[in-house]
């Protein structure tokens, strides 16, 4: 432990992170508490993530997340490579949503350099970002159900649909998940009419899939019993803790960067921002389903209005790119929340400072608060409903 200040928020008398897997902790007031180390190799943690859970009977009295098993110092890598070479690395942050990561990075660099983006590229970016949102939320719904113990079936149905979107990404960008598609000032390739037709077909069929998925899950009494009232998050805490994305909106706070910042061409589309009422796990699941339905609306409009024109600004320079000294923070509404990039340029080909604001990481701040007083089995679904990807948490 290299803790300089004594942790003050802990109940006193509890020792900190143990090496042992499970051991009893003796405490005069609570009787015997049990400390369980969940993870890093645990199927419920969605990767290599560890929670040190202290239990009083089956109730959680303390939970400390431990990170860093996947840490590769992405930010240092970003400072050691050129602006363009960081683009494929951003794919590997949140590897489910490489398209939105690319876009967030591109937006930050475009701000930094004052680079304009052609209209067609903006539309294509919206299409790709909304497809990514569909993909991410579909996966999340499947995984969340997997975490409740509903093994296999919903996850496979979700993956079947996700695969269709990945096929689209593959035929456009060449890779299913590591798309590396956005460039500073546009996109790398122009989608063909056939590709757009395929997207249209997918969008038309997606509502049907959602109906079916909801029939499978949303009304299911067991799912409701497990998720309703579990892991309640209050709006005040959510705002203070910087929680963003569907997690925040499930608590009823209306904050969607697509509306607030209106980046890209989002102000041109008509869509609603679904809000939750209870801030519990069921709301978080439902918000994602509703957001997918809104995404379908946005996709329809974007496909309808897609203008012709260049896809990459002819003045855009990607190789040998040296922005003028300055700094910029660019952020977008990723499927998991606000993903932002903070860049400082000193005029050299590499960024002086390259910082990723990872939504999953910040959203984990309140994991303990949501889990206190719940059972271990609930901690698993609460973690599932936060929607983390360890590639982004640990960077």
């Amino acid at each position: 432990m290299t803790s300089p200040a004594a942790p003050s928020s802990f109940p006193s008398g509890l020792p900190s992170s143990p090496g042992a897997h499970v051991r009893a902790v003796h405490d005069d007031f609570h009787g015997d508490l049990l400390e369980v180390s969940m993870g890093p190799h645990h199927p419920s943690t969605h990767g290599v993530f560890r929670m040190i859970v202290t239990l009083d009977g089956e109730r959680i009295v303390r939970l400390k997340p431990v990170f860093g098993y996947l840490h590769r110092n992405h930010e240092k890598l970003g400072e050691q490579t050129t602006y363009l070479a960081s683009m494929p690395y951003t794919d590997r942050l949140d590897y489910l949503n490489s398209m939105t990561n690319n876009w967030a990075y591109a937006i930050a660099v475009e701000k930094l350099a004052g680079q304009a983006v052609p209209e067609r590229a903006e539309y294509v970016r919206v299409i790709l970002a909304e497809l990514t949102r569909l993909l991410n939320h579909t996966c999340l719904a499947g995984f969340l159900l997997q975490d409740t113990g509903c093994s296999g079936t919903p996850l496979m149905y979700a993956f079947r649909e996700r695969e269709k979107i990945l096929d689209l990404f593959e035929s456009l960008s060449g890779s299913r998940m590591m798309c590396n598609f956005q460039r500073f000032g546009g996109c790398r390739l122009d989608p063909t009419p056939e590709w757009l037709a395929a997207v249209r077909q997918l969008v038309d069929g997606y509502g049907r899939f959602l109906d079916e998925f909801e029939a499978l899950i949303s009304g299911n009494e067991i799912v409701m019993a497990r998720t309703q009232g579990t892991g309640v998050l209050t709006p005040a805490l959510a705002i203070s803790a910087g929680v963003t994305g569907p997690m925040l909106r499930a608590t009823g706070v209306d904050y969607d960067l697509r509306k607030v910042d209106g980046y890209g061409v989002y102000p041109r589309f008509e869509f609603r921002v679904p809000l939750g009422a209870h801030g519990d796990t069921y709301d978080r699941y439902m918000i994602r389903i509703l957001e997918m339905r809104e995404s379908i609306q946005i996709l329809r409009q974007a496909l309808r209005d897609l203008p012709a024109g260049p896809i990459l600004d002819p003045k855009a320079k990607n190789r040998g790119f040296r922005p003028k000294p300055g700094e910029a923070y660019g952020r977008i509404e990723g499927p998991k929340g606000e993903i932002g990039f903070y860049l400082i340029s000193d005029g050299s080909p590499n960024p002086f400072r390259y910082r990723v604001r990872p939504p999953s990481f910040v959203n984990l701040t309140i994991l303990e608060d949501m889990c206190l007083g719940q059972t271990v089995a609930d901690a698993v679904i609460i973690l599932g409903s936060i929607d983390i990807v360890l590639g982004e948490v640990d960077r």
Binding site: M87, S171, N180, S218, M224
Partner: protein, 215 residues
């Protein structure tokens, strides 16, 4: 009523179970390796080098060893040594061109930055090897693939590249002709393209999954 949600869900699973016997939408499993999926044209895996003359795969590489891709490659997995004659003059072709595909992350940046259209993305994905170091280190000999192979993988892109190269060549020839015009001898007709592009690969049905290297 309690339990309706459950029953509704079971009906969905039943529908999927029955559907999986007749509806391709509901049965999406592919029996790899007996059945292979059709790769999209844009699919990318690892880079290869294009040569123009199948009889001389190493001599006719388009690569001029400018090392732009080496500098731009994010994980630095390309290694190039320029070929030189005895006097140390650069010969504008690589003596060593290695790509360590255990490090390569298939990002296609090398393809994007190459000004000579010399490096392109392969689609051969069955690359398991027993030797992590030498087996996955592809040398110039292994990387060199013919232009016809490139056409087979990415027909549209390759056609565009060929058109571009032909245009450049014509321009060069024209410039040369203009230079030579004042001279007494009439200039020789522009050299025919070294390797006329083969007709686009048959892609109507079953575009072949990438076959092992066809240098």
């Amino acid at each position: 009523m309690l339990g309706t949600g459950l029953l509704q869900g079971l009906a969905v699973t039943a529908k999927n179970l029955v559907g999986s016997f007749h509806d391709p939408e509901r049965y999406v499993t592919m029996e790899y390796p007996e059945v292979k999926t059709k790769l999209p044209e844009n699919y990318r895996n690892f880079p290869f080098l294009v040569h123009d003359d199948p009889k001389d795969p190493l001599g006719s590489l388009r690569c001029v060893a400018c090392t732009i891709c080496e500098t731009e490659c994010p994980p630095q997995c390309i290694y190039i040594v320029m070929d030189r004659d005895e006097k140390g003059k650069a010969l504008k072709r690589p003596k060593v061109f290695d790509i360590d595909i255990s490090v390569c992350m298939s990002c296609q940046i090398c393809v994007e930055v190459c000004p000579f259209d010399a490096i392109k993305m392969d689609q051969h994905y069955e690359i398991a090897e027993t030797n992590r170091f030498q087996g996955l280190l592809l040398s110039r000999e292994q990387l060199s693939k013919s232009n016809a192979y490139y056409h087979q993988l990415h027909p549209t892109e390759a056609a565009a590249v060929d058109a571009l190269l032909a245009e450049q060549k014509a321009k060069q020839a024209a410039a040369k002709a203009a230079k030579a015009a004042p001279a007494a001898k009439p200039p020789a007709p522009a050299a025919p393209a070294a390797n006329p592009p083969p007709p686009p690969a048959p892609s109507a049905e079953a575009p072949k999954p990438p076959t092992p290297p066809a240098p």
